[in-house]
Structure formats: structure tokens, C-alpha cells
């Protein structure tokens, strides 16, 4: 009893801002404008399958790229001294002090046909390349914005690894590659799994990035949901149903990930 009291503010917070909104989404998803129970909102979901596929695919690519960049970076960073680490961390966090939309706008002026990048390449007689308003630009936006969420959990897990395991492996005759493959990597999996979740979930639900960098040429789940609230036909019921489907998709993805992480202690978000 004594230990529970300090938790009250958090429970109140979660209740108001997590549980109640979730219940509202479920209620909206299963009702129509007259407030009657209905499953209609889910009946034409097949129309949106292509949107689900699109979003899943782009979010997956962004997550894999983030992982490929972040893991070696986090691994190398964990070997460095405290001063270097502090500076590196500062540089990872620095862009996040700026507004997310501003950063995405900045990419717009970099990638445009007359943008900085094409002007620079033009000096060497290359291009102009068609960069903006493509799926590639959307993935780039996701990777850029969400990369820190992959680096930080992986770094903190590798950093806290008990060095005695590595010494033991070396004592038992493992070379560097084997130590990494059989000791360090398996032990860092919880960090990798949280990183994947923290990149995958915002990637699959983003809509600002696809609007600004995709120029409306690629249409994602976030756009679809936004459209139900701000499109020509105001339909929060259908919007909630799609949001609920997306939630289910994310939960399934998390359950699958958790299976991979079985046996490792659950640093995973769930």
C-alpha cells in the first residue's frame, strides 16, 4: 500500500490520456452517426488494403535502414571514452530540440529540383536528380526523424553489458567475430527490439512526412486516418475503425517481435 501512493499521479495521467481516449476510439469504431452499434466501419476495409500495404512496406524499409545505421554506430560509440560519447550524444539529440515539422521542411528545400543538393551536384555536372515527391524521400524523412530512437536504446543496452561476459568468451577462445555474434549481439537484442518498435510505430502512422516530402504522391495510413477527420466527408467513426486496425497491426507486430526476444529479459516496450 505504502509503495503504491506515489504511482497515483501516473495512474491518473494514463487513465485520462491513454485509457479513456482508447475506449473512445473503440466506441467510435463500432458505432455509426446515430450512436447505434455497427460493424459497417470495418466492412469496406478491403478498399484500404493497398494503403495498409504501402505504409507497412515503407515503415519496414525505414526501420531496416535505421537498424543498419544505428547498430554499428551505437556499438562503436559504446567503445569510446566519456568525452567523445557526450559530444556524440549531444549531436544526436541536437536536431530533436527543433520542431519536427521544421526539420522536415528543411529537407524539402534540400531535396527539391532546385534545392541545395541538386545545386551542389550541378557543380559537378550531375543531375538534376528527381528526389522530392518520391517514396524514397518519404523513407529518408522517416529515417532522419526517427534514427535517434533506434540509436539510444541499442546504445544503452550495449553500454551496460557486463564486460565479464566478453572477457569470459575471450578466455574460452572466442575470436572478436565470435564474441560479437554469440555474446554481444544476443545480449543487445532487447535494445534492438525496443529500437525497432520505436522507429516502426511512428513510421507507420506518420502523415506529415508523406505530405511534405512525398508531395501527396504516396498515400499512407496516417493520411487515410487524417482524411476521415479533415477530408470532404467528416467520418470519425470510419477514422477510428482504421486507427483501431492499425493498432491491431502494431500489437501483432509487437507480439511477433517479443517471440524473437524470448528468453532475453523484456526491455521491449510491451
Amino acid at each position: 500500500m505504502k509503495t503504491k501512493t506515489p504511482a497515483i499521479p501516473y495512474i491518473v495521467w494514463m487513465g485520462i490520456f491513454v485509457v479513456i481516449p482508447l475506449i473512445l476510439i473503440v466506441i467510435y469504431a463500432f458505432t455509426n452517426f446515430d450512436g447505434h452499434f455497427t460493424l459497417d466501419n470495418f466492412s469496406n476495409i478491403d478498399v484500404f488494403l493497398q494503403v495498409f500495404g504501402n505504409s507497412l512496406w515503407l515503415a519496414l524499409i525505414a526501420t531496416v535502414i535505421c537498424l543498419l545505421i544505428a547498430y554499428p554506430f551505437a556499438y562503436l560509440l559504446a567503445q569510446e571514452g566519456p568525452v567523445f560519447r557526450k559530444i556524440a550524444m549531444l549531436f544526436i539529440m541536437l536536431p530533436m530540440w527543433m520542431n519536427f515539422l521544421l526539420r522536415t521542411y528543411a529537407w524539402m528545400s534540400i531535396l527539391e529540383n532546385n534545392g541545395f543538393l541538386n545545386q551542389f551536384l550541378g557543380l559537378f555536372g550531375i543531375g538534376p536528380l528527381h528526389l522530392i515527391n518520391t517514396d524514397g524521400a518519404v523513407v529518408l524523412g522517416m529515417v532522419y526523424n526517427f534514427l535517434p530512437f533506434m540509436i539510444l536504446p541499442i546504445f544503452s543496452v550495449i553500454d551496460k553489458l557486463d564486460k565479464r561476459y566478453i572477457e569470459a568468451a575471450q578466455d574460452l577462445g572466442a575470436n572478436r567475430r565470435e564474441t560479437f555474434r554469440r555474446v554481444i549481439f544476443p545480449l543487445s537484442l532487447p535494445g534492438v527490439l525496443s529500437g525497432i518498435m520505436m522507429v516502426f510505430i511512428p513510421s507507420i502512422s506518420t502523415f506529415a512526412i508523406s505530405k511534405l516530402l512525398g508531395g501527396g504522391m504516396s498515400f499512407l495510413l496516417g493520411d487515410l486516418i487524417e482524411m476521415q477527420f479533415l477530408g470532404a466527408a467528416y467520418n470519425p467513426h470510419l477514422g477510428s475503425a482504421i486507427a483501431l486496425m492499425m493498432l491491431a497491426l502494431v500489437v501483432i507486430a509487437m507480439l511477433i517481435m517479443n517471440r524473437f526476444g524470448d528468453g532475453e529479459e523484456g526491455a521491449v516496450v510491451m
Binding site: 501512493t5 506515489p6 504511482a7 497515483i8 499521479p9 491518473v12 495521467w13 485520462i16 478498399v47 484500404f48 493497398q50 494503403v51 504501402n54 524539402m108 528545400s109 527539391e112 529540383n113 532546385n114 528527381h130 522530392i132 515527391n133 505530405k211 511534405l212 508531395g215 501527396g216 504522391m217 498515400f219 493520411d223 487515410l224 482524411m227 476521415q228 477527420f229 479533415l230 477530408g231 470532404a232 466527408a233 467528416y234 467520418n235 470519425p236
Partner: protein
């Protein structure tokens, strides 16, 4: 002690939720489009009347509609466009205005009153009007632009910016095909959507944008796009190569109107604000700032002839007669718009 602290913290977290509901004395809550007013007039209004203006902006009619529909917000004056005002009247979301408190209404030109969105002139006072049209860069387009169909030709591949909302974007294709903006025929809407899909698949469209068009046209990023006449005037100040065309098929003539929603809490202040907005000095300052056109006859007389004689801001009456306003559409048609819009959004570029 710990317990008291925790409860206090919990209350602290919840408190802001109720604090929002606290009523402030003598304010008027105004909800308007972004960049659509000269904000310095608020100080003058407060000086004259003692009423403080709480000002917020929205980016689309649909955003305004959904924030009123979802509740929780209280606005005293809102400025939707004609078709949205019509929808709100139909759904009983607006209060009738007390015109006896708006004497400056007499300044307005009668041709902007009693329009189809408010035939009896009970709920609205027109604020600004304008037309949509084609903005193009004369250094990048080598033939004269006269028709909406010019947006669908392959010689402008990768250079066309289209509206990023279903009503305007599909509306343009409807007009290009010779149909009405207000058609409820699903066949016509489908035909228009197919035209847009074909345009996208051929790679003619560069992007679907709203206010991002400012940067893209000013920086020569695209050769041609569709937007509002008032915003063209703003853009052409930055990039003199830009030109504007009202296509021969006719464009959208829109009127944005000041209304009072049913959630209004300061009705008399709202009337005072609307009246203030119709006074000549304020109209002139707002026109100067935004580039849009005023329905006020008395203000137009005082306006610099360079502005009032500008055919983009004040087109000749035969061109205006050829334009069409958006009417309210039944919800089944609006759903169909969304359905077709998703088809357009999902189409992939096939050549590049």
C-alpha cells in the same frame, strides 16, 4: 506527506483540463483562415470597444467543421467559405445574426448578398471573395494558358502542382470536362477522377500541395499550379515572372463569410467585431495585407486604383458571370468524393 504530495500532483495534472473552461470577461473568440487578416486591427478593436480578441487560425474548411463538430471549442466568430457555411446552416450549427447591431453592413455591395449559400441573408456577412485559377511561370511555359485542360497535357510533365484537397482538385477536373462543380452525378465525378489518375500516372503532376505552393512557385520549382487569386498577388510580389489566368471554362468564385456558431458565448461582442470588420479603414487594411477582394462598395471607392483596377483581384463582370460558386453537397456525394480521392492518391506514376 508523500500521500498528500501525490494527490496534489494528481490534481495538478487534471487541473488544466478544467481551467480551460474558465470564462474570461469581455473577449471575442475569432477563428479564421491562416494569413487572412491584418492582425494589427485587433489592437484598434480593443481600443475602441474594450473587447479583447482571442485569435486562432485553421487551414481548411473541413478542419473548422470538425473542430466545431467534435465539441469542446467555443468560438464567437468563424469565417468559413460559402459551401461550408451552407452546410453549417443546414446542420443548424449557426445562429441568426442581429443585423441591427451591424450598421456597417450598408457598406457592402448588394451583389454579394443573398447568394445561394444564404439566400435570405440571415446567418452571414461576407468578408472577402476571390476566384481560383492557374498560376504559371512565364519563363517556364512557352504557350499561353487559357484552359484547365492545359494542366493535363504532357508537355508540362513533372511541372504541375494540384490542390491537395478533394473538392478543389476533383472540381478542376470536372470543369475541364465541362461539368458543374456541384454535380452529384457519380459518373461525372468518376470521369473527373479518371482524368486526374491519368494525369498522375503519366507523371504530369509534380505534387499535390496547399500552402507549400508559395515556396514552390516563388523558387521556380514548378512551372504551373492551381491556387487562389489573392495568393497569386502575394506570390507575384516575390517572383515577377508569375502570371495568372482564369480559365475559359470558368473558375470557382468563392465568398468567405463571417458567421456566429451556436457554441458562441459572447454574442454581442461577436456582432461588434463583425461590424468593425466591415468598416472601411479595416477593410482597406485587410485587403492590403491579404491580396483578396472585398465585397465593400464604399471601401472599393477609396482603394488605390492600381489595386481596384487589377483584373486578377477584380475581374470583369463577364468573367465573373462565367464562374461558379461551390454549393453544399449531400453527404453521400461527399463520401463518394473521398472514395474517388483515395483512388487518385493510390495511383502510381507509371513513367518517369
Amino acid at each position: 506527506m508523500k500521500k498528500i504530495f501525490s494527490v496534489f500532483l494528481a490534481l495538478l495534472l487534471v487541473f488544466p483540463l478544467f481551467a480551460c473552461g474558465k470564462k474570461e470577461e469581455n473577449v471575442v473568440n475569432v477563428y479564421n483562415w491562416g494569413e487572412y487578416i491584418d492582425e494589427s486591427i485587433f489592437d484598434d478593436f480593443e481600443e475602441q470597444t474594450g473587447i479583447r480578441v482571442n485569435y486562432k487560425t485553421f487551414a481548411s474548411n473541413e478542419m473548422l467543421y470538425s473542430s466545431l463538430k467534435s465539441g469542446g471549442s467555443s468560438y464567437d466568430v468563424i469565417i468559413p467559405s460559402d459551401y461550408m457555411a451552407a452546410r453549417m446552416v443546414e446542420e443548424n450549427m449557426l445562429l441568426p445574426l442581429d443585423y441591427s447591431q451591424i450598421p456597417n453592413m450598408a457598406n457592402l455591395d448588394a451583389q454579394y448578398l443573398n447568394l445561394e449559400y444564404d439566400p435570405q441573408q440571415l446567418y452571414t456577412v461576407p468578408y472577402m471573395w476571390g476566384v481560383t485559377g492557374i498560376i504559371y511561370n512565364t519563363t517556364m511555359v512557352d504557350h499561353p494558358i487559357t484552359s484547365w485542360m492545359d494542366l493535363f497535357t504532357t508537355d508540362l510533365t513533372g511541372q504541375v502542382l494540384m490542390f491537395d484537397n478533394p473538392r478543389d482538385c476533383i472540381g478542376i477536373a470536372l470543369k475541364a470536362l465541362g461539368y458543374s462543380f456541384n454535380t452529384t452525378s457519380e459518373d461525372e465525378i468518376t470521369e473527373a477522377a479518371n482524368l486526374l489518375i491519368d494525369q498522375k500516372e503519366k507523371g504530369i503532376v509534380q505534387a499535390y500541395v496547399m500552402d507549400q505552393i508559395f515556396d514552390k512557385m516563388i523558387n521556380n520549382e514548378a512551372a504551373i499550379g492551381t491556387y487562389y487569386a489573392g495568393d497569386y498577388i502575394t506570390m507575384s510580389e516575390e517572383n515577377p515572372d508569375l502570371a495568372f489566368c482564369i480559365p475559359s471554362e470558368g473558375a470557382n468564385l468563392f465568398v468567405d463569410a463571417m458567421c456566429v456558431p451556436t457554441v458562441c458565448e459572447n454574442y454581442d461582442n461577436a456582432m461588434a467585431f463583425i461590424n468593425f470588420m466591415c468598416s472601411d479603414d479595416v477593410v482597406l487594411r485587410n485587403c492590403e495585407e491579404t491580396g483578396y477582394s472585398t465585397p465593400s462598395a464604399t471601401a472599393l471607392e477609396q482603394m488605390d486604383e492600381e489595386v481596384s483596377g487589377n483584373p486578377v483581384a477584380y475581374p470583369a463582370s463577364d468573367i465573373l458571370d462565367n464562374c461558379e460558386t461551390y454549393g453544399g453537397l449531400p453527404s453521400s456525394t461527399l463520401s463518394f468524393y473521398d472514395h474517388e480521392w483515395i483512388r487518385i492518391c493510390l495511383a502510381k506514376v507509371k513513367v518517369h
